[in-house]
């Protein structure tokens, strides 16, 4: 894919690149030392967003290889959906930040300039795990995030207290569990793009977030688009694409 092959080979010859680095530049991905993962080194260039490592179900040995590889070549990293035991182990081995509410480990550049503004509204206070994942992902992607929790529809005056701020945002992420009604209300009040983020809070008929997801998809307020249940990274990525696009 990368056409400047001559340049890469020159740098390899000059010892500026290792063979693995050169291979990565030619192929557009890098193989971890155990060979199992092909890290997508051109993803940021193509999609504007660096790769978040999805940690769920990955064996510890694979995770170690991936983290080690990324720390060699990147200033920042974010691994999500880890079992907290594994997260703690990784955090200690590689001096990373561990956020137990959402099972994430991260190394983030706190001095990085953040662009745009994403507002996250959440219906209650049982969805902190998702709020945290959105916050981490926004910071990793480089977009500014502001959070207002517990403004759900059973006490609408709480929502109205934050309504005036909504218009300043590039995009709104509206998280809600149970009946998932908040995005419909929000999308009926503002012109800003609204991303519905269903949360697994609830029980019985809430079907672990599937009801909220279906409800948001069925919203009577046009212009709500929806991501997977508890998908904080996905909501942040969708919002960041919008915020960055506005600035490009």
């Amino acid at each position: 894919m990368s056409s400047n092959l001559h340049d890469i080979l020159t740098r390899l010859k000059a010892g500026e690149l290792s063979i693995r680095q050169a291979l990565g530049l030619v192929e557009g991905f890098e193989r971890t030392s155990d060979g199992s993962a092909l890290l997508d080194t051109e993803r940021r260039q193509r999609t504007g967003l660096p790769e978040v490592i999805y940690g769920k179900d990955k064996p510890y040995d694979n995770l170690r290889c991936i983290v080690e590889h990324l720390l060699e070549t990147k200033r920042e990293l974010l691994v999500t959906r880890l079992n907290n035991d594994i997260a703690e182990k990784l955090a200690q081995e590689f001096s990373l930040q561990h956020e137990p509410l959402c099972g994430a480990v991260s190394k983030l550049d706190v001095d990085k300039e953040l662009l745009g503004l994403v507002l996250l509204l959440s219906g209650g206070t049982s969805d902190m795990h998702v709020v945290k994942e959105v916050e981490l992902a926004c910071r990793f992607f480089g977009v500014r995030i502001e959070v207002h929790t517990d403004v759900g529809v059973s006490g609408l005056h709480r929502f109205f207290s934050v309504e005036p701020k909504l218009k300043e945002a590039d995009a709104l992420i509206v998280a809600a569990g149970m009946e998932g009604a908040l995005p419909s209300v929000v999308a009926g009040r503002v012109a800003v793009p609204v991303i519905g983020l269903p949360v697994s809070t609830g029980y019985g008929a809430a079907l672990e977030g599937v009801t909220a997801m279906l409800a948001m998809l069925s919203s009577c307020a046009p212009g709500v688009s929806v991501v997977n249940v508890d998908n904080g990274v996905g909501a942040a990525a969708a919002a960041a694409r919008i915020a960055f696009g506005k600035r490009s």
Copy 2:
């Protein structure tokens, strides 16, 4: 069940009762002439509500027997969920009112005194079939009904315009299709009992009303109870039980 057997036999002997009528008084139900239906003659006495005939899937001949039987002994009747061709045929044969929006035929006593007050709010204007069924059932049960349509959550100011009236009601029926969010908003605003009535309006993720039903059952506003999708008769019956109880 009926203990006054002596009295019934006396009236039978005196010719004041037919054998079928006497049998009905003793057994608590009456057999239609084709033998297929056992009309529950004590239902109003037990439950406060006369029997609504559910017409769906009943063969025409059975329907005829039931209607004929009821017209002999009752001043009013309501048959719902009819195919409109069958409804029209029944309406013409027995001089009944036919409401095509919800496939019902009825004979209602317009001079009957109506008790209490039930308010029906509906989210849009695609649920007229359900609105009509609620209205007919409330009138048949003998409870006063007032309707406010098109006050859904994508334009909340429409809801606020009717909010002051809600407190006067004995019970609220809140109908909504798609994401079914309106009952949560309403139940967060008033102390009146709220009956959620999910409507089959919508497509795709709305799952023919099942999403609205699940959303209402998952409501974050406590005290919403829910009836089946499009179940106008059931919502009216639940509301009438509350309204009548308040007066008893």
Copy 3:
């Protein structure tokens, strides 16, 4: 929302209110010390029912802030759906009652006058967790509750032994797991409002209470309205709205 702004400011100036209290009176909600929860201080005034705290998935630190805040300003509180370890910890820290059957902690005023009468029937003895949640919620809301367990449809004579008492109630809560048939039988026998409470008891085709929920929603006896699976608080709230309405 609160229009008596002048009065609030006067009391603030006079030192009768803290800034946080004044803010809560103006806004209609109060922010906990960690900022995550907005406690809906006007809920009782609007809906007749004080706020029950839903404890599931809330981080311990948020729960502490909420409980601490409520204990400062309220005489009673009820937190439900807690993991029992967390419940025990909260109970000890704040001297609360811990009910392990339903994972609740509470502080209830035992001398408070209870109004009305709610009857709870349950089909078996595997649904004690739900029975307990209904009892706690009714007492918290201030409505009298009486319980009859194990009167399910596989031995109907047990139900008939309690039937005479049903008419005295303002509302009936009928809890059942497995096939969820009891509400249909009950609603066919009395005029009192019937709230179906599906329970997660059962396995396989019982689908963790969803079958009972669907069955109750499909009831052939008109006037059954239904709450979420195991939703003791919701059933109690719906019953309390009815009982209080009758008395208003």
Copy 4:
């Protein structure tokens, strides 16, 4: 399978059998003239029950071949689940009885002695299509059937009026739509085997009979076994197996 090969060949040679008949005796099935169907000629011998032809989705030409073939070799036949247009056409071409309520055509020997006794209870009068299919199948299988409709749980006294007869039956088929509660009540009252027959009557949460099916499978009364939604033939076959076994 058939071991008396010598005998078959002798009869073939003597002209007592056609080649197709001989082939059928050797193979245990007979090929229709268009080759598409292999009629299971030994089924009655193996299972005690003659083969009912399931007509749904079969092209008309195949149906003709099957009916023609059976009429050559059998005194009786039953084809179910036909589109009524196709049923009428078959009935006229082959002088069969057409029952439009359940889309069946049949030729039944009215003088055949019927064995045992199966009782069919049904909850309402919207399930006549299923009642008819059970009746036809029982007669075809050779078992006596008695029907009591409209004895559902919303008016239990109707059920109690038939209860004394239940003990005389070899097996009970209990049909119910909507919440499907009747089999639980019945199985708690008698020792006779109870076959639950869920019916597709209802709408919304009734899920076209699936809710009744799940509810019957979750019955709290032990000893209810269940057949497919609207499966009148299957319920009749299960009942006949029991009735015949008792007599063998």
Copy 5:
């Protein structure tokens, strides 16, 4: 229900009955000492089968009361679906047999005469938990049970090795997980009543036994009736009703 009231009162007066026993005879059920359970003392008389206690979700204290009560008045008992810790505790406290494979405790009369013959076929060796529950329940009900495991459809010759024995049974219970195909094969081979018992063995598309359940309900072989997933007690009860009916 019990009409011989005079006799009961005479025996009470004479000290032959405690008040609780007398109450139980009059009412047809007995209240456990904690008041939560109403033991159905007439169930065997009505349905031919003694009551199996369903242990799942019952608090330990309720279980203790029930077991204690039953041991006072019955020679045998069976409690199923217990967590094995609770089962072990109960077994030790009351000297009961504990079967850990299916979480049951029992006290069975080994000298009791067993009637009839039920055959249990199972598809594999991953369904021993269900096999054990069927065995215990059959013995408790008083019916003879014979078991043949691992005769599933992926190696049909194993099934054919047991086929000759099938005809001797009063009823067949055919247990299968995964695709649940075995009952169709069996019902195509014999005239004996076939009860399909779906098992939760499998993963993914097996949907924890729901696929096997749906497959058995959709069987192309008429006369298969089905019980809930893993419902060994229910299958045994259905088979016992058939076996006892045959002998009555």
Copy 6:
């Protein structure tokens, strides 16, 4: 809501406004002549998008009132999801454009300036009904739309032929039925916001578009947000919010 009440009353008095117009300005909505619909006159002002009328399930008489009302006050209108018979009737009565592929009628200002650029990619040629709805909605909202059909994943070189154009768009709508894989591929290639639009094309396991919807929500490519199955209006609205936001 509208504070300039004095001004409205002045214009009313001066005869510049009808009473209904004045009422609409004060309340923020207008009541149609039959009273059933409350048209949300401030929606464009609040959300940037004019109201699309959802026609499904609306009775013809209500539709007529709505269309008549809108034509009096608006230059453009769009009604979607009509039965084509009703659509044709409306189109003729009010001289509207009828698009039978998606059951829409419209009156669009062809000279209106269109802003931004939305690109619609679709996987096949069986989703023309959705493509048409997106096109109409984009034109109604005032955003430029460009369409590339039949670029699905089974022949990826077709997608690569349009890839260079993707970066010019403000937002991409990616429509796909069956397995719904195209949005994942697209979102892995560009930085533009990607809106997944699942289409009901397919059969069996495609579950009428639900599989495509679930697949898009589960996308491994971060930043895909999803609208309801066949929801062309919703996808267009989400895209328009993004495109307009970029320009504001």
Copy 7:
């Protein structure tokens, strides 16, 4: 993709190719005259199988363009899943064969040599629509197909009569509706690759073929792979890939 660009341009210049043909050779697909479809001209070269046109939901005008285009450039074509009215219209306009059982139109080269051998077994005679689609697709792909219908599990001796032929096949397609048990039986008997083809035959618990599909996926016989419900083309394609691979 195609590297022989010089050759293509030479032939274009010489008039041997039209511009559209040249464009198709360069791009690897051809645009139909209405621009909506991009026909994948290299599919056979890449995948060994020519493109079958999926006709469902395609507007008639698009279908005409596609068929016209293909007839100009190909000797054979197959369009499936057409509404039979549209199929008949296409067949007449373009002199194609119309197979109404499966809604297909085709032009097939009857003299073409067929390779390999695929055997199709089907459980009953209600699945002729699927059998026909498999036959047409196999002939179109160029693989020999042999069909044995009505060999389902309720009469296993019918299956055994065809068993000896199975080993001669390159691949087996085993079609079954209802409980979908046949593939498990077959895969336990032979070493040939088995492709399960679930059929929508059945009702209720058969869930329109989904139960058969889930059952086949849960098969206890290893090596069954499954295609979508009623997907005759897909089963034929999978079988053809195997048959052709064996010969390559």
Copy 8:
């Protein structure tokens, strides 16, 4: 089944066979010492593949008997889906290899010649448990397996880097979780048989692998056949049948 009965009896008499061995040869299966399992000794002969023992839900004592029996008579064995505690215990007792990633124990002949070539592609690195099960099963069946992980659709260039190797394989197994899109892309590029292996990786809308399974079954690329979620053994068996067939 085995016809050479004389030979078996001769060897038994000569002491060359134990009674159990002789019985196994006659019956075609062998009974383990505890009688619960009937090991299918002719499976390899019939299906080309030795029996893999499915360990899930099997009690430890049954597993011990099976493993002991197999080690007496076979050179290799594979037991899958074990709880890792049980797996470790078995591995130590019988000196087997334990692979904790997929809960398998095995004894494999490393010197055995492997035939054919199966290629396994997987979308990510969260599906190692499935990759391992495929690898073990292929080696047990005797087919050569080559693995390429992390080549999913969100970075297609990774897939293109392995594309040239695909044509050398006899069959491709394409594993993917989440949206399960990879098999569609692969099947559009090559003529080799493609077996889709859905993986349970993901959350929420991924429905534990069911979404990937449904998506693969709905693939727009013809010729993808699918096995159960996480069914590594099944995918390997399907691939081995193809690879062996090609060589026979």
